[in-house]
């Protein structure tokens, strides 16, 4: 056979050119479909082959996936096949199959005279090219086989390249998404920090859910104190009853709950609102919020990364919402404190200051409040007849309610002062008004007296108050001023209040007090009691009213360890020579 060298030369040039062009095209292409398809078409065209198939190794299943085929009817694209090669075959870059070879045992196909090319790079094996015989049944020339081998090497490199590129692109994109999510969180935390308006926070939260995750349906239940309320919702969420809110909050007590049929059926509201996932937000070990979301607008299921983002976003929003509540509480508290300090000033203004000087008696009075305002009261006022009225009272309860009632009593007393009625009649009226105007659990114990200076007579009415203690100058025993009637406000006046006159002689000492004195507790929870009070008065009986008063207050303070839990009031009166 005559060899046409010139022809062979031009043929190899063509070959080389094809290989070069193909290689450039393949390496530049990052599309594995394109690479595989080209490998098949070029080989089939160049080598006049009518059937060929490419199998790519699947490392997960340890078998080969048929990516693309032409001819070979017994094989199916996308199906997975197991290859069995003897050790000699496995080492070769290509070999011809004979009738005893069953490299693909699961398929009953005649592969005689087919070639199997190993698709490999210098390090790794990636798959096989199965090449049918020439259509004209001629054997492959050496050049044919070298050409095919070269093309397989180039194509495999290109395939690996494209796989890496795809992986890299995916990685880049995921990274990009994470960065964007971080940006979103950063952007929102900046904005949330500036906001004190819960509606605005909810609205931005809503936009972030929509924009980042395509979530249109959501709700946010927030726990304040012991109650739960729906702070925000959108999309398909219907208005829940308080009971529905309470039950879903207590039932959905896990971090993330994917709503299943069981939950849907036991929670009508969740079902109706198309909620698919529930999240709990926990701050400092306390579940403070429950967030429910529906499926996405584009129906793509949530990934773990999405859940993480959703949790971070929810945390951020809930912390901001919590902050607004704290802020409101603080403002409320500050306003309340300011109001109380005003109330305290008003209440102090209701008490006589300074204590007026009354001829014939040495007088001292003082009230100590355990809080800003309280229910203790004393008064010293001049009646139209020129005589002086003394009063001491204690309203049940403490704080603002007691202070209001105390102010009420003070004004009644001053309105009645110029009216020409007896102490007894005035007490009747005060009792009726208090009874009518106050809740049934509010009472006032009240003692008042008029000092008739011309006759040195003290005329008093005691309406249920701790009996004032009278220590006569010529006696070592205390008398108690108990006459009068029921405490004020308990019931309408049925029996007139009794007024009693007592004669005061020089040196006689009267101590009026409220239960803050005798009921003061020490560290062992024992009351100060009237015994200690009497002892204290007794020891100081020769002193002036103010000194006696101070002695009692100091004694009680010392006893309690400086911890008063109640208001205490003292009015000390000593008859002069």
């Amino acid at each position: 056979m005559k060899i046409n060298y010139a022809n062979q030369d031009s043929h190899s040039k063509f070959e080389l050119k094809t290989v070069l062009e193909t290689s450039r095209m393949l390496v530049e292409s990052r599309d594995s479909e394109f690479i595989i398809n080209n490998l098949l078409l070029i080989l089939m065209g160049r080598l006049l082959v009518s059937k060929a198939a490419i199998f790519i190794h699947d490392p997960v299943n340890e078998n080969y996936c048929l990516k693309k085929k032409k001819g070979f009817d017994k094989f199916e694209e996308k199906a997975h096949y197991h290859f069995e090669l003897n050790s000699e075959q496995g080492k070769q870059s290509y070999f011809i199959l004979n009738e005893i070879d069953h490299v693909v045992p699961s398929v009953d196909a005649d592969l005689k005279n087919c070639y199997l090319f190993n698709l490999r790079t210098s390090n790794n094996h990636h798959g096989y090219l199965l090449l049918g015989p020439k259509a004209n049944n001629e054997a492959f020339s050496k050049m044919d086989l070298e050409f095919a081998e070269s093309l397989c090497i180039i194509s495999t490199a290109a395939l690996v390249n494209s796989q890496l590129f795809t992986e890299l692109t995916t990685t880049y994109r995921n990274l990009d998404r994470r960065i964007h999510e971080l940006n979103t969180l950063f952007d929102l935390s900046k904005e949330f920090n500036l906001l004190v308006d819960r509606d605005k926070i909810s609205s931005i939260f809503k936009f972030a859910l929509l924009g980042q995750l395509f979530i249109r349906t959501f709700f946010l239940i927030y726990k304040t104190g012991d109650s739960y309320s729906l702070l925000a919702s959108s999309g398909a969420v219907t208005k829940p009853s308080q009971k529905q809110i309470d039950t879903i909050f207590s039932d959905a007590d896990e971090d993330i709950i994917i709503v299943d049929d069981e939950l849907r059926n036991s929670h009508e509201w969740i079902k109706k609102s198309n909620i698919t996932t529930l999240f709990s937000v926990t701050i400092q070990n306390e579940r403070v919020a429950l967030i429910g979301v529906g499926e996405r607008v584009n129906k793509i299921p949530f990934s773990d990364a999405d859940y993480n983002f959703l949790k971070s976003l929810a945390n951020l929003a809930v912390i901001s919402i919590q902050k607004t509540f704290f802020l409101e509480e603080r403002i409320d508290k500050e306003r309340m404190e300011e109001e109380l300090s005003i109330a305290k000033a008003i209440q102090e203004g209701l008490l006589p200051d300074p204590i007026p000087r009354i001829s014939g008696v040495d007088l001292a009075a003082k009230t100590v409040s355990s809080r800003e305002v309280g229910g203790d009261y004393f008064d010293i006022a001049e009646a139209p007849d020129g005589n002086t009225i003394f009063a001491i009272a204690d309203v049940t309860g403490k704080g603002v309610p007691a202070a209001l009632l105390m102010a009420n009593l003070q004004s009644m007393l001053h309105v009645l002062l110029p009216v020409d009625i007896t102490l007894s009649e005035a007490t009747d009226r005060i009792n009726n008004i208090i009874h009518k105007n106050t809740p049934s659990d509010k009472f006032i114990t009240f003692f008042w007296a008029k000092y008739l200076s011309d006759h040195k007579i003290l005329r008093y009415v005691n309406a249920g108050h701790n009996p004032p203690l009278l220590l006569r100058s010529d006696s070592d025993n205390f008398e108690e001023l108990t006459d009068g009637g029921l405490l004020l406000g308990a019931m309408e006046t049925m029996m007139p209040y009794v007024q009693t006159d007592i004669q005061l002689n020089p040196g006689d000492l009267l101590v009026c007090y409220t239960d803050g004195i005798d009921e003061t507790m020490n560290a062992a929870d024992e009351e100060y009691g009237t015994r200690r009070l009497k002892d204290c008065i007794f020891q100081n009986r020769d002193k002036g009213s103010q000194e006696i008063l101070d002695a009692i207050v100091n004694s009680v303070k010392k006893y309690s360890g400086n911890k008063f839990s109640d208001d205490l009031t003292l009015l000390v009166l000593k008859a002069c020579d």
């Binding site: 952007d187 929102l188 929509l210």
Partner: protein, 117 residues
Amino acid sequence: MKTFKIEHRNNHGFEILDLYGELDAHTASQLEESLKNLISSQKSNIIVNFRELDYIASAGLGVFMAYIEDVRTIGGDIKLSNMNDKVYNVFDLLGFPTLYDIFDDEKQAINKFLSDS
């Protein structure tokens, strides 16, 4: 940094919103206001031109999601145009191209409106 602003104009009977600066959680409410105004006056053929927009955050994207259904219900659409690569990347990352028509140029958006009607 440019301050965010929105300018409203009319082009061949279409409502054009030109966005400037940075659209984030802070400025999202302004865009919301503009879209609400258009919808309430039944102006539903809306093109948002992003030529002068430097940055967009998720809350900004959320506004588009929040009103697209309203606009489509009254027979209109919100089409987006002239995004820079950075802004487009954000839309693309979150999958917006499957839900919105996004064009390189405002003119293409107008043509799309015209060919759809």
